[in-house]
């Protein structure tokens, strides 16, 4: 069975700013460095007056991850991964 698995853990993130956009490049989770191969989707939500930026990405091992950046605390989170 395939499904999304909630992770909701803080991560260290490296981003580049490209054409006015923040693009996640790689992140460290559980001591592993994961390189992002493709950004497949992005959207924004609000937490009060602060914004949360969400990113759907595929890593170098073709694994789907959902990430978020909370502007209020300037923290990155790994929200979900796809498990088979």
């Amino acid at each position: 069975m395939t499904m999304d698995q909630e992770i909701n853990q803080p991560i260290d993130m490296m981003v580049v700013f490209q054409k006015g956009r923040m693009v996640p490049v790689r992140f460290r989770w559980n001591g592993r460095v994961i390189k992002i191969a493709k950004l497949t989707g992005w959207w924004k939500t609000n937490e009060g007056k602060f914004r949360i930026r969400h990113f759907a990405v595929i890593d170098e091992n073709s694994q789907f991850c959902q990430l978020s950046y909370k502007e209020r605390t300037a923290e990155w989170f790994l929200d979900k991964i796809w498990v088979e």
């Binding site: 497949t40 009060g48 969400h54 759907a56």
Partner: protein, 431 residues
């Protein structure tokens, strides 16, 4: 069902009504004429995103493209129904609104994405609505994934309707990676029908002079606004197709359906004068409902839920600077039987405690520890602008004023830190 020859256009370019972007004025006019439109005649587009929620998830997870994908509510929160199904999943008979258990039985190998984020779909919806406004200011959002666009007079800027629709589809595909189906017609009714005739990724034109011919063989339920109940009554009259409905005596329809009888006659003939409402339409009511994580019988738990729902409604009223006078409680029991109870108060309010007090009173008669409750809803109607309220002239005005100060502080905290950042102690048990 045989549909007479339509001008159907797939985005692969196979169409019979397309024009070159570099055509001359004379060619342009003749092109408009050939599409069945004289100049200044209304031209309405209906844009419907294809299997919207499922398509968004397939775009984010590219390996799911073409596979049966089902987006559904979280069964643990007892919202275990299909909210969207990809076209591959629909091929197995899976439809929106169907219990997830049934969907799993129909297609066990489908990918089920459960409890996905509604905010994400709302954000993406706002992005394609913004694209619509690049073509015309006359946009009427019809739901989260569809809208009507009045493009009358836009020909000079974007070319004939079919060309505009193609550009719009391309822009959505390029910027959002999503496909949509577009219907073009002289009114909203026909445009909505047109977009449904050639899904997914379709582009269908119903010219005015072909409308009757196209409608005639279609089943009555194909038209927006004719549901199962009406279709059953029509069926008893021997009416199954729109052609049969169009030729049925209007007087008999009026006797049977009242005012709606005339409407049925008009729509069956492809006539619809409703405008594209691009202006803000004032809300008539505001409400929130929740399916509870488990059936509830305890009065205290019911009160806790009602306090949360009343707070949500009141907050929205205050945000929109509105006050309401009629408070309605909706209850669904564990056996799915439902009822509503309303009470109109003397002075309009946006106070969660006044709304809660009435909701609790209404609940006392219907959710009082006898039957198990599955869903509760609170709504407020008869809305007016705040300031027209006489609330402050009420007795206990001082007490109300104190409450209002608390609401103002709570609203400020929620504005800054989010909706869940502060709640009443009485609502703490319901999270």
């Amino acid at each position: 069902m045989i549909i007479p020859k339509l001008r159907m256009h797939k985005s692969d370019g196979t169409d019979d009504c397309l024009t070159s972007p570099n055509m001359g004025k004379a060619q342009f006019r003749s092109e408009l004429g050939s599409c069945g439109y004289a100049r200044k005649e209304p031209v309405i587009l209906h844009v419907d995103m294809d299997a919207f929620f499922a398509s968004v998830e397939q775009k984010d997870r590219p390996w799911l493209a073409g596979k049966p994908v089902v987006v559904g509510g979280d069964p643990q929160k007892r919202r275990g129904v299909v909210t969207a199904a990809s076209y591959a999943a629909r091929g197995y008979g899976i439809k929106a609104g169907m219990p997830l258990v049934t969907a799993k039985r129909l297609c066990p190998h489908a990918v089920f994405l459960i409890g996905t984020d509604g905010d994400k779909y709302e954000y993406i919806s706002s992005r394609f609505m913004r694209i619509f406004y690049q073509f015309t200011p006359q946009v009427e959002p019809y739901s989260i994934d569809e809208a009507f666009l009045d493009i009358t007079g836009c020909e000079r800027l974007f070319g004939p309707p079919v060309q505009l629709a193609k550009r719009l589809k391309e822009r959505i595909k390029k910027q959002l990676g999503l496909s949509c189906s577009v219907g073009i017609a002289p009114n909203k009714l026909l445009a909505k029908l047109a977009s449904s005739l050639n899904k997914p990724d379709g582009l269908t034109l119903i010219p005015k002079d072909k409308a009757k011919q196209i409608l005639s063989p279609l089943e009555v339920t194909k038209l927006c606004g004719i549901g199962g109940k009406t279709a059953k009554i029509l069926s008893n009259l021997g009416i199954h197709t729109l052609g049969e409905l169009a030729s049925y005596p209007v007087e008999v329809l009026k006797r049977k359906f009242g005012k709606n009888g005339e409407w049925l006659h008009l729509v069956a003939n492809g006539i619809d004068h409703s405008p594209v409402f691009s202006q803000f339409i004032p809300e008539k009511s505001m409400g929130h409902a929740r399916t509870l994580p488990h059936d509830v019988i305890n009065q205290e738990e019911i009160s806790s839920v009602l306090l949360v729902l009343s707070g949500m409604v009141a907050r929205r009223l205050r945000q929109k600077k509105l006050v309401g006078q009629t408070i309605t409680l909706r209850v669904r029991y564990s056996d799915f039987a439902s009822l509503t109870r309303s009470e109109t108060i003397a002075h309009p309010t946006d106070s969660e405690h006044i709304i809660f007090g009435i909701a609790q009173k209404l609940a006392f008669g219907v959710a009082s520890g006898i039957r198990r409750v599955r869903l509760l809803g609170v709504s407020v109607s008869r809305l007016t602008k705040d300031g027209e309220s006489l609330q402050t002239f009420l007795p206990f005005a001082e007490y109300i004023d104190k409450r209002e100060k608390i609401y103002a502080v709570m609203d400020r905290i929620r504005d800054k830190f989010g909706e869940g950042s502060i709640r009443w102690a009485g609502a703490a048990s319901f999270i």
